[in-house]
Amino acid sequence: MMSKELSIKNSLIIRESRVFRNGELIFEADQGLSTTKFLKKVYNDQKLKYSKFFKMDELSKLGYLGTEILTNGSIEDKETALVFANSASSLETDVAFAQTMEEFPSPSLFVYTLPNIMLGEISIRHQLRSENIFFISEEFDPLLFIDYTTALFQQEKVENVLCGWVNLHNNDYDVFLWKIANSGGMEFNEEELKKLYLPTHE
């Protein structure tokens, strides 16, 4: 299988008020913080300076922060494809926007009522003009990522792919990002992905 030749270069997890990079805990905040407050703490902890961050919806903030931390703020290969998924789509923002419709519909909420806007935010930040796709699946599905990413490599469309499971629902966020390349890391297969995703996940 082609995926055996591909490698997971590094990974990141944001969940339950904690941030892990390559399995190592790099930030922890008080449990029970709202998503907004937690994300602001991560932003400040990382000493990021990107005023557009505060305009993003929570889902995009999760994707942006995860990418910044995983890549140390730099994606060198501007052809890096983005292959992302989640289960709740942009539901949190959809609901918030629906509530504003009772009085004055909010333009700034409306623009985030699609989950793939997050990919636009990441692409703008890193000046990517590459392929991107956002899947909705009931739960984290390693094979979905493996099949699509493998196809991209087989078609020789990319040399690097940033994959991400970025889910947000009822103040519960679950972020798992990882980079795939032709060499230089652990094997890109279902077992390894599950191992990376599951350690701290209930």
Binding site: S51, K55, E103, F104, P105, S106, P107, S108
Partner: protein, 85 residues
């Protein structure tokens, strides 16, 4: 600085999520778009909503926007002449 100018600056910061800014950071005659404050087209739409929600002013001609939203001064002038609440 009039109360209206201060009130507008506070609303702009809050409505447009300019978290890293304070009232004193915005000059009355500073351009809000482009090189000045760097607002974008979605911010412009939020400003239109703000005019209607807070001052009862409905913009009927979108072309007016460029002139009205030039700076805090121009918005304040427009509100004083047209406010319904």
């Amino acid at each position: 600085m009039s109360d209206l100018h201060t009130e507008l600056k506070k609303s702009i910061i809050e409505q447009l999520n300019l978290e890293d800014m304070e009232v004193s950071d915005i000059e009355n005659d500073e351009h809000l778009f482009g090189d000045g404050l760097g607002l974008d087209s979605i911010d412009a739409l939020e400003l239109i909503v703000l005019l209607e929600k807070d001052y009862g002013i409905k913009l009927t001609d979108p072309n007016q926007g460029k002139e009205i939203f030039n700076s805090v001064n121009t918005i304040a002038d427009f509100i004083e002449k047209n406010r319904a609440k």
